[in-house]
């Protein structure tokens, strides 16, 4: 038998005379609300996990950057000559304790044939950047025109939350600028001055770093990552950052 909860009486009587039936009704209400909420959550998880873009047009609509800068790294060709590191530190005045890009080395002594590989890593200019999310002052922001994750140096308060948030360890703290710093695809030093390529992509002798507009079907980078025969991967896809740096053999 359903009995309505008499809120007026409750207010007057100050809850001394809440009947068992009223308590039961209240609990039932609570369960119904929880159940609806849980059901809704399950439904949304099932139907909308990891939205996959069916076409380049859909991708462009969600991330309408023009040019949409990205980099394709042909990892199998990297020979750790480190000319990219030299070019980067010179072009962007990176201090010796800092880094805008690094080369990681992986050695597998039991491997057949080649026993080592070199992996260049840099800021992935993520479409869903954790550093932008973590920044308390909006010093870290995603440029609306070209998608580069920029740093407004004057706004940075040096909390280093962005450095912790980045899954790629791409940021360092620059003492001279009193700010976090990272790769900006040479925007400040080259792209804004009319150059087409980043310093590292320009100098790499082995064709490892390929830079361009990934929304332009005529660009090298677009064509590289849209081949069905080639495996293309990104770093730490499970972090959900939707990076703009792609890796291939």
């Amino acid at each position: 038998m359903k009995q309505k909860i008499n809120f007026d009486r409750l207010r007057k009587d100050k809850m001394k005379k809440v009947s068992a039936m009223e308590r039961r009704e209240f609990l039932k209400l609570g369960f119904v609300i929880t159940g609806v909420f849980a059901g809704g959550t399950v439904l949304s998880m099932v139907s909308n996990v990891k939205k996959v873009f069916a076409s380049p047009e859909e991708f462009s609509k969600q991330y309408p950057y023009k040019p949409h800068y990205g980099m394709v790294i042909r990892q199998g060709r990297c020979i750790d000559c480190e000319r990219c590191l030299e070019a980067c530190t010179t072009t962007n005045h990176v201090p010796p304790y800092g880094f805008r890009t690094t080369i990681l080395e992986k050695v597998v002594p039991d491997a057949v044939g080649r026993k080592r590989e070199f992996i260049p890593v840099l800021c992935n200019q993520c479409n869903d950047a954790p550093c932008v999310r973590a920044c308390p002052t909006r010093a870290s922001y995603k440029d609306k025109k070209n998608g580069i994750v920029m740093i407004a140096y004057e706004k940075c308060i040096g909390c280093k939350a962005c450095m912790l948030a980045c899954p790629y360890n791409a940021r360092y703290f620059n003492e001279d600028r009193h700010s976090a710093d990272k790769c900006d695809f040479c925007y400040e030093s080259r792209l804004s001055m009319g150059e087409e390529l980043t310093a590292c992509a320009d100098i790499c002798p082995a064709g490892v770093r390929n830079f361009g507009d990934i929304s332009d079907p005529d660009s090298d980078v677009y064509q590289m990552i849209h081949q069905i025969e080639q495996t293309v991967w990104v770093m730490r896809a499970e972090a959900g950052t939707k990076p703009n740096v792609f890796y291939m053999k």
Binding site: I79, D80, C81, I103, E105, R114, R116, F118
Partner: protein, 131 residues
């Protein structure tokens, strides 16, 4: 008894010193062949292992030192044409490393290219010297 133990300990230590990581040497003077050669031009760094080619693959000195290379370490990198284009044309390493006799120079890059990190691991604490 104590003296014997000390001598035994010392001998064991010295043997271990020359058999483990301490026993590895890159220098030609330590071998009958040329040892490891580490090239730094045009890129840093590429390794050539005499040990592998002579001891494991059992090549003779003349197999390479008759026509392909002078028997002087690091001479070839001074010529200015010790690059991938040249190897692709069949010169130097490319004579065998063309895909038929041995893996092609177009593949397995880091098998020979040890890079700056590899250079520093082997020779980082000494001057770049042409010996």
């Amino acid at each position: 008894m104590m003296k014997k133990l000390v001598i035994l300990g010392a001998v064991t230590f010295i043997v271990a010193l020359f058999s483990g990581p301490f026993g590895y040497s890159v220098f030609a003077e330590d071998y009958d062949h040329g040892g490891d050669i580490i090239y730094t031009q045009p890129v840093k760094a590429v390794i050539f292992s005499h040990a592998f080619h002579v001891e494991e693959l059992e090549f003779d000195c003349d197999d390479c030192h008759e026509d392909l290379f002078e028997p002087e370490a690091l001479l070839v990198q001074k010529g200015g044409n010790f690059d991938m284009e040249c190897l692709r044309e069949g010169n130097y390493c490319g004579q065998c490393h063309d895909g038929s006799a041995a893996f092609s120079t177009e593949t397995q890059c880091a098998r020979c290219h040890i890079g700056v990190k590899g250079y520093n691991a082997r020779l980082g604490n000494m001057e770049v010297d042409e010996h």
